[in-house]
Subunit: 246 residues, 2 copies
């Protein structure tokens, strides 16, 4: 049964964490809002879903996954659902719970990244909150960013399966959606904070190695080189404003 | 087997969502950081857990639940784990997933509430970011708060089991941890934004009714009246600063 992903069509955003999982698994899916409105897809289809007052389990915001009768919002919840179906998580309940916990912490980090360019309101433009963004981004870069990177590095270092592995993983000895999400975070942080990341990354050799390995992973590289991969831009979650990376 | 909750001992904070579930289920648990250091509890026990470099699945931040071999961080993940054990979630996978999705959205809202008094940095005092807090709180009160309340009200209205029920529930016909969390959010919002909530609440009769019913629920009222319930205060998540509720 085909997966239907509903997400903003012109940005990577939070939807990209779901796209990466679907793509790495070569899943049969349609990125609805990027489809053709004449075929019942496109933005009208997503807006109709968001406005559907007959929906018993209304999604609060995209990304949203529809799969048969299931309709799931919240990035981490979508990945928790997809993981076992796509073979992108371990089989045990404890392995699935730990992978989900990592994803939830990535979600928290991603919200903090968003707020570096929108510290006052998501309804205002960045240009209307630049001074506050500079303050928040400084606190993020100096205090929060290394705390998150420390944590990812510690998880990679403490995963016994990594000791002699050809490829690093956050959980056990297999590729999980959390690995794909950490790859995405590493990509995004280097786009948004190139200067800070150049200074930080050498202290995080395992995070760096996981990022490098996934960039050339045969399950991921074709997608990254395809037109399906939207480029980072100044409307997304990770934005490159030099003032915020000073 | 006894549950061990690790959370900051002097605030409700995110830990309160877990405390409410454990209390409503009359679970056997210990609130470790509030215990006696001489008995191996208290803050030293929590700080030792956070600093434990031998921990294969290190928690990023409290709250943390230890239960036998399980060690789980992230409020929503803890409740997802506890729900079935405490009888505070439906039995079907789809009911558990929906309850979890609601909790994840509550977690997002709670982070936004936190940032109304800490829009720049959690490492600074409120007094160091008052001007920015006033701006962020205004945007939260005017745009985000009604959006979240709309969503909770819609869920309550669309839950068919509520049509003729003596008590309202977010999911199906039984009390879930999500109901307890919405109660806590309604409490906290009325503490933090009394003026805004007085104006909003009449528009949300079902949210109001759920809050009122739970305040006198025999499973919850004894806890709320006990010394185990920490009072709201100016160190927690929900804080009452009149400037932010102008």
């Amino acid at each position: 049964m085909q997966y239907q992903l509903f997400y903003w069509p012109s940005i990577q955003g939070r939807g990209e964490f779901v796209r990466l999982a679907l793509e790495a698994a070569k899943a049969d899916y349609v990125d609805v809002a990027r489809g053709d409105a004449a075929k019942g897809q496109g933005m009208p289809a997503m807006l109709a879903l968001l406005a559907d007052t007959g929906q018993e389990h209304p999604p609060f915001a995209p990304p949203i996954l529809r799969h048969g009768k299931a309709l799931i919002a919240q990035t981490a919840a979508i990945l928790h659902y997809l993981g076992p179906q796509l073979g992108l998580v371990g089989k045990s309940a404890s392995s699935q719970a730990w992978t989900h916990q990592i994803q939830l912490t990535i979600a928290d980090m991603v919200s903090e990244v968003h707020d570096t360019h929108h510290p006052i309101s998501g309804a205002l433009y960045f240009e209307q909150q630049i001074a506050q963004s500079i303050e928040r981004a400084k606190a993020f870069r100096e205090q929060r960013l290394p705390k998150f990177l420390d944590w990812f590095e510690a998880i990679l270092a403490r995963n016994g399966a990594n000791t002699s592995a050809a490829r690093l993983h956050l959980v056990g000895a297999r590729l999980s959606y959390a690995d794909l999400s950490l790859f995405q975070v590493a990509e995004g942080l280097q786009y948004a904070f190139p200067k800070a990341m150049r200074s930080y990354l050498p202290r995080y050799p395992m995070v760096q190695r996981l990022h490098r390995e996934l960039a050339t992973n045969p399950r991921l590289a074709p997608y990254l080189a395809s037109p399906r991969r939207i480029a980072f831009n100044q409307d997304g979650l990770f934005r490159c404003y030099p003032q915020l990376d000073a």
